[in-house]
Amino acid sequence: MALPTIAFWMLAAFTAVTAIFTVTTRNVVHSALGLSAALIGAAALFILFGAQFVGLAQILIYVGAVVILFMFGIMLTGTSIRPVVDNDQRVMAALVAVAVFIVLAAGILTSFGGRKVRFDVAFPTVAIGHALFTTWVLPFEAVSILLLAALVGAIVLARRD
């Protein structure tokens, strides 16, 4: 096997195990840490598939900011001790999740069964930036307005008055 294929299988196993750990552990802090591990695995897969800028942005934004925000949410609500973790529909939820996976897997296998993907195209940051500030400049500005609105909204919601 070629080196990228071996790397893919190792990263895929890591990401799958940490994703399952994230939704099955009984500890809230362990769940957030499992999420950060799963997101790092996914970011490594992004880089493996040529999306270097998206992978690094994923590490910076998700692992650096979003998981820390989750940690703040867990610590400030002081609920990491009391067990308010799962509700009593775990079995039904597991059945639904397995059914979703079977339907998705059937669709994927019938649609893309024979196709091969190679790791031959990289998307360098220069190309991404150029596309982002020419073709996609209007969605880019809309997203910046959205982030500003979310910032103001979060401050207004969480402020004590």
Binding site: P4, T5, F8, A12, T15, A19, T22, V23, A32, L35, A38, L39, A42, L45, F46, F49, A51, F53, V54, A57, Q58, I61, Y62, V66, L69, F70, G73, I74, T77, T79, V84, V85, D86, N87, R90, A93, A94, A97, V100, F101, L104, I108, R115, K116, V117, F119, V121, I128, A131, L132, P139, F140, V143, L146, L147, A150, G153, I155, L157, A158
Partner: protein
């Protein structure tokens, strides 16, 4: 490498997220499960970008990451507000819009 392998991994991550959203009571853990689902969608976009030799998947994935950051900020603010008003973060105890 067959393209179904990363797509099946993405489907597995998405199913984990579905299970988490349905089975969790803790508000922050619901948001964590939603993050898993969004990352699965991003993985699909990146894989199809590589398969079709087209950069649009990468750019849409960047937009999704930015929108997710906004969503998490608002979501954590709402969870903290609920905790301050009702003393719990268990989402199945929030039955009333107003009382």
């Amino acid at each position: 490498m067959p393209v179904v392998a990363p797509l099946l991994l993405s489907a597995l991550m998405f199913s984990c997220g579905v299970y988490g959203v349905l089975a969790r009571r803790h508000g922050v853990m619901l948001l964590i499960a939603v993050e898993l689902m969004i990352t699965a969608a991003n993985l699909n976009l990146i894989v199809f970008s590589q398969l079709l030799h087209n950069a649009i998947g990468n750019i849409v994935a960047l937009f999704i990451i930015a929108v997710t950051a906004a969503e998490v900020g608002i979501g954590i603010a709402i969870v903290m507000l609920l905790y301050r008003q009702r003393g719990t973060v268990a989402v199945d105890e929030m039955r009333l819009m107003k009382w």
